[in-house]
């Protein structure tokens, strides 16, 4: 009996697979501050955060790449009712904490924990800035162990050059082999800061835990301590004149947040970004259909050009072997509905002398 459909064995011919694809995402400081001036920086009238685009945001070609905002806990030493946007900064902290850290048994919002060990208590990070990366960059998640964030921590900011004599590098160094799962938004790792350029950058020569990186949420929560000297509760060396957040002014670290609105402090942080890079992850779920074409199958064609009248063109006598050429594979439902199509790059010759297993992969 002639036929042109071949039934797939649901056990042996169909298999589901999962593949993780990674892309490198480099964000150079010049895109964040410099290349397009402030045309790719969007501030909002509500003043709660600042958005960074990869191109002037009025262009339809622009892609949103991340947001910056700052916040502190109401019981932070920086919190004071006289502060500029005090309640908004507290609201930001609480919003990010409730989403990323969740609640304790009493329903109180958990603060960001320095080492992620919530049961042990330990140091809390109550003054933070937040980098919320766009879904277009993060895709399904940030690849663990791939995050690097280099930050200038000396002198005044300079949006035209973005060059700093002292820099530190923040990485999720432990991410590839150790991460935490006690967050309501998935896995997160501890961010550690080390000196990357210049003398006397850090107070001590070791890696300081300075924040948390939420891999699936695509949010980096970084402590304000990266901008503070050790004598002000930070991690930087106490050497004089090491850190100024303002364009002009004295030796002020993250305390700058008290007298500035969120947009201004976001500018100060943004222009200190030397480089950000990470690998994203796309989780690809595939179904592979093994289309087994045996030697005695699919050797004839219903192509109108296959026949001249009713005679097969590729044969001159009955005993010649039939020949056909495969260019397309169609996947069908029980009801003969064409669900998916796959194409070969060139015609594949099929005769009774050969057989193939064509693996057709359908990604979701």
């Amino acid at each position: 009996m002639a036929n042109f459909y071949k039934t797939l064995n649901q056990t042996d011919d169909i298999v589901n697979t999962r593949t993780l694809l990674h892309e490198a995402i480099p964000l150079t400081g010049t895109i964040v501050s410099g290349t397009y001036g402030t045309n790719n920086i969007k501030d909002y009238s509500h003043g709660m955060f600042q958005s960074v685009y990869d191109y002037p945001f009025l262009s339809s070609s622009a892609n949103h790449i991340f947001d910056i905002t700052v916040g502190y806990s109401s019981d932070s030493g920086l919190s004071a009712s006289a502060n500029t946007q005090n309640s908004k900064k507290i609201n930001i902290y609480n919003q990010m904490a409730q989403v990323l850290m969740g609640y304790d048994a009493t329903g109180s919002i958990l603060k960001f924990d320095e080492d992620g060990d919530l049961l042990a208590g330990g140091s809390k990070q109550t003054e933070n800035f937040f980098m919320n990366f766009s879904r277009i960059l993060v895709k399904d998640e940030i690849k663990k162990g791939s995050f690097e964030f280099e930050l200038g921590v000396s002198g005044t900011f300079d949006s035209s050059k973005g060059v700093f004599a002292k820099r530190l590098k923040i990485t999720d160094a432990s991410g590839s082999d150790g991460y935490l799962v006690n967050s309501p938004v998935g896995e997160y790792g501890i961010l550690y800061a080390t000196a990357s350029l210049g003398p006397f950058v850090l107070a001590e020569r070791h890696a300081y835990p300075v924040g948390l990186l939420f891999y699936q949420a695509g949010v980096a929560v970084i402590s304000g301590s990266v901008f503070n000297a050790a004598n002000k509760g930070g991690i930087l060396n106490n050497s004089p004149g090491s850190m100024q957040m303002q364009a002009v002014g004295g030796n002020v670290g993250f305390q700058f947040v008290t007298g500035s609105n969120i947009s201004t402090i976001s500018n100060a942080i943004r222009t200190r970004i030397q480089n950000i890079q990470f690998n994203n992850t796309v989780e690809l779920n595939s179904t592979v259909y093994f289309c087994r074409v045996n030697h005695n199958e699919f050797n004839y064609s219903s192509n109108p050009t296959y026949l001249n009248g009713s005679k097969i063109r590729v044969k001159t006598k009955a005993t010649d072997l039939p020949v056909s050429y495969i260019t397309t594979i169609g996947l069908y439902s029980d009801n003969n509905e064409l669900m998916a199509v796959s194409k070969l790059s060139e015609p594949l010759k099929k005769t009774p002398d050969n057989e193939f297993t064509i693996r057709v992969r359908l990604d979701y």
Binding site: L8, F298, F356, L362
Partner: protein, 313 residues
Amino acid sequence: MGFLDNSGDIILDAVLTDHGRKVLSKGDGSFRITKFALGDEEINYSLYNANNSQGSAYYDLEILQTPVLEAFTNNASSMKTKLISIANTNILYLPILKLNQNLIDTKQHTSGAFLVAVDRTTEGTDASQASQAVGYNSTNQVQGVMFGESYEDSNYIRIDQGLDTTEVGPKQRSTISDMIESTYIIQIDNRLGFIVDKNGNRVASDYIDDDNIAFYTVDSSDNVVVDNLDDTNSQTQTISGPRGTTLEFKIGASLDLNTSTFLFTKLGGTSNMVNKALQGQQVRYIDTIVRATGMTTGYSIDIPIRFIKTIVS
């Protein structure tokens, strides 16, 4: 030492068709792939040159160089021609589908298509508007015009299947016994019409895809597939060799075409025909095709159809 041939296992990425996406989006588990077919629609087998003097390696050189198009996601546009599995490799002839116009009732209209009159005014079965009908020529039914509302005509489409060759006689039906089509799939634009049997009984469709193409799987139980047991050289036959089955059906007009001119305005045009009073008659028309595919051999045939609607003056 040479490398081993590793061409036996090929990995390809598939794309969902638009209909596949529609079914998947239902989320009811109806998206289930259970079988596959192979297609060769880019291939022109007339390029196969078995007389090439340079040897058999050159017979299909041009075919193997055929560039292959990317996949179409329109389900009705892909896999139009399929490869067939037949156990016997000593076959020199394959059955085809051929429009039979040898009967007075199965001839196409002189315009080169089958016409479907979408309402009684156009048919001529509405006595009050009879003079403007184009279904009748004076007192006679016009050749190739099917009455899409009343079905009160004898015209129909007939497709014959079999070996169209004089090398094998029509009495050798047993030679194609495993290639006789008992089931066909008919595709028609569901916005325009539907399939009915010769008596005007509507045939149920399997499904209508996202592009409004209705798919009908028909067999003898639908009264549209009939064994063709005529093994004579009758003038009414169009297949010269052994015959399989005939597919016989009519086309009904959709309610949209029957009651409105919207689709005619959007998809069609106007033309001049001769009416029952033998005078010029303006009609609206839409041209389309109906595709019939044999479920055994995969051979298909496209039939041109024109839906017409009289412009009542």
